[in-house]
């Protein structure tokens, strides 16, 4: 499953997990994302890099339905996402982690994970939701993975910054998405925490694709299969980290300083 990107590939190709084509969004005439196309394979870790304001977060917003595209298409396993509601996109298998840790401070780690457990998502379903063995086991399993096994009872607001980031990753993992989108997962983390996060990402990659926005080049080199560089809303360069690093255009706008 490592089909190389063909220049003439179309979204109809089922080989791609995600096919973004000619994606454009303009806010009052300002094109935050302009004619962006890229393709993500199953089981691929793709990192999006680029200077501030390049439109990286907007691309993730467009994929998960937070922002609506002006034109262009986003096909996920052949399904057009641009017309689905946010919750339908999640239920199709796309998970999104936000830039700042977005967790529920007033709930325990256990409860945070439980809410993300993909069952009882309707009003009635949530009212009748039973905390059974399947739920507990899955939460234990995920908590182990995200290094929070001993913290299940803790209110999430008392976690450290790094732990909060892991918790949010865990909340996505419990949904078992096929496409996981992470916005700066290691920002503000200590060196030790970064290492653990990289380890975590390598572990969770199995059976899913990951789309990551990250500034930390060391970290990017560590995890990326392929890198897409955005600049002023457009794709500037794409390929392996090695290639991108040596691309004069990229060096000029991003890596050079």
């Amino acid at each position: 499953m490592n089909a190389a990107i063909l220049p003439g590939a179309t979204a109809g190709d089922k080989d791609f997990l995600l096919a973004v084509e000619a994606l454009t969004v303009s806010f009052d005439g300002f094109k935050a994302v302009s004619d962006v196309s890229f393709y993500v394979d199953p089981d691929e870790i793709r990192v999006i890099i680029g200077p501030n304001g390049a439109g990286k977060t907007t691309v993730l917003d467009l994929i998960c339905g937070r922002t609506r595209a002006t034109s262009g298409s986003i096909k996920y396993k052949g399904t057009e996402l641009t017309k689905l509601s946010e919750s339908a996109i999640v239920q199709a298998g796309v998970g999104r982690k936000f830039q700042t840790p977005s967790i529920y401070d007033d709930l325990t780690v256990f409860e945070n994970l439980e809410i993300s457990f993909p069952r009882g998502r309707s009003v009635l379903g949530a009212l009748m939701f039973k905390r059974d063995a399947a739920v507990r086991d899955r939460i234990d399993e995920i908590a182990e993975m995200i290094f929070l096994k001993d913290q299940l009872d803790k209110r999430a607001e008392f976690l450290s910054h790094g732990q909060k980031q892991w918790l949010e990753i865990g909340m996505l993992l419990i949904q078992d998405p096929e496409l996981l989108m992470l916005d700066e997962p290691v920002a503000g983390m200590s060196v030790a925490e970064r290492k653990k996060t990289a380890e975590l990402l390598h572990q969770i990659i199995k059976g899913r694709s990951v789309l990551v926005i990250e500034h930390d080049m060391k970290f990017v080199e560590d995890i990326a299969h392929r890198v897409t560089v955005l600049h002023q809303g457009k794709v500037l360069s794409e390929g392996s980290m090695e290639r991108v690093k040596n691309d004069p255009k990229v060096i000029e706008v991003y890596l050079g300083h």
Binding site: C64, R66, S85, E86, S87, V90, Q91, G95, R96, F98, S102, I103, Y104, D105, D106, L107, T108, F110, E111, N112, E114, I115, S116, P118, G120, R121, S122, V123, A126, L127, M128, F129, R131, R136, D140, L152, D153, E168, M171, Q175
Partner: protein
């Protein structure tokens, strides 16, 4: 691994069972024994507001939706009940001096000669009881769907609920022939032939009211401790995270708002029964804000706190407005500001932070008496 205490999620924690028992003792035991008929009826009236406060705990405290228009639902519930009682009091025999006998007196005064269509279902008691809950809840559903699907929230939502309260008041006052106008619907006498004006009837209604309130507490508790309750908390905190966890956020908000409306409506109907009339002065902006203050003073996160807050503020209102009628509103305003600034979680918050830890410490000092399941927070 054994499930831990905090994530065990029983229907109620021991402390909460104790609170419920205390509330029952107070409502069904102490107050009826200590108070005369008039005062007990007054407490019964206060307790009808507690239904609204309970709804606000779910809607505002738990889910973060501040509605400044709960009087609308209280009023709609109350009006539905009043319409039934009024029709029963307006029998042909009772109204034979009118130019059109058999319709409510205020209609006759306003030259209306036939009962309007929307009054007709209120000839039937079962339909009335259904309407008491259904009409306000349906109205809340329409308002909620219109607002929350469009992602209107926070202050905007609060202002719109205020506007609705104002509009409904103006509508009721303006359509005197259909609604009884500013005077409301008065001179209510019997419920299915049973005279509600006697002392015995008032005492019985007080107990029915108390029973319904406890039932609503249990329903609210069921919602709060369900996953839905935790989703409401999660939405208050990080709405986007909930949305991107695959939930239709609007539906959950509509549910919370409708539940609060249904509670308020039951309170309104019990108000009409116990006080014997319903008027637009319980629908508008001022009563709606007062109801929010009850919940704020008692503690907007605590079901029991909200009930005690309602009782306390109303008791204070009765006491102080007897002696200093012009100062009371200032006092109420000052109380609200003080609560918001100093005790955002109200009386329940003070209890939880200052009294409960002390009690627990004392209980721990006497280890022999400490049962295994004692609250350890």
């Amino acid at each position: 691994m054994k499930p831990k205490a905090l994530n065990d999620n029983p229907f109620m924690k021991p402390v909460e069972w104790a609170s419920l028992a205390l509330l029952c003792v107070l409502i069904f035991g102490l107050l009826p024994l200590a108070l005369d008929g008039f005062r007990l009826n007054l407490v019964g009236k206060y307790l009808t507001y507690a239904f609204v406060a309970l709804g606000l705990v779910i809607c505002w405290g738990t889910c973060g939706i501040l509605s400044l228009g709960q009087g609308v639902f209280f009023g709609l519930g109350g009006y539905c009940m009043a319409m039934y009682l009024k029709l029963e009091a307006s029998s042909v025999e009772n109204t034979k001096i009118q130019s059109t006998p058999g319709i409510p007196d205020f209609m006759d005064w306003n030259q209306i000669t036939a009962l309007p269509w929307f009054w007709k279902p209120f000839h039937s008691l079962p339909l009335t009881l259904i309407a008491v809950v259904l009409v306000p809840t349906l109205f809340a559903f329409i308002v909620g769907a219109a607002m929350f699907k469009r992602r209107v929230g926070g202050t905007y939502f609060a202002i719109i609920t205020q506007a609705i309260a104002a509009i409904l008041t103006i509508l009721i006052v303006g359509q005197q022939g259909y609604t009884g106008g500013i005077n409301g619907i008065t001179d209510l006498r019997t419920l299915h032939g049973w005279d509600i004006r006697t002392d015995t009837a008032k005492t019985i209604l007080y107990f029915v009211n108390g029973g319904l309130l406890v039932a609503c507490v249990l329903v609210a508790q069921f919602v709060k401790r369900s996953k839905l309750g935790r989703i409401l908390v999660a939405m208050r905190d990080k709405e986007d995270r909930v949305r991107f966890s695959g939930y239709g956020v609007a539906s959950f908000k509509i549910f919370a708002f409708c539940l609060a409306a249904a509670f308020a409506a039951i309170g309104g109907a019990m108000f009409t029964l116990q006080v014997g009339f319903m008027s637009p002065s319980f629908v508008g902006i001022v009563p709606s804000i007062e109801m929010v203050i009850y919940a704020a003073v008692g503690g907007r996160l605590s079901l029991f706190g909200a009930i005690y807050g309602t009782l306390l503020v109303n008791w204070a209102k009765t006491t102080f407005s007897e002696s200093f009628p012009e100062l009371w509103l200032f006092g109420l305003g000052a109380l609200f500001i003080a609560v918001v600034l100093a005790f955002p979680d109200g009386l329940a918050g003070i209890w939880r932070q200052h009294v409960e830890p002390r009690l627990t410490r004392r209980a721990k000092a006497a280890p022999a008496a400490l049962p295994q399941g004692a609250p350890a927070e």
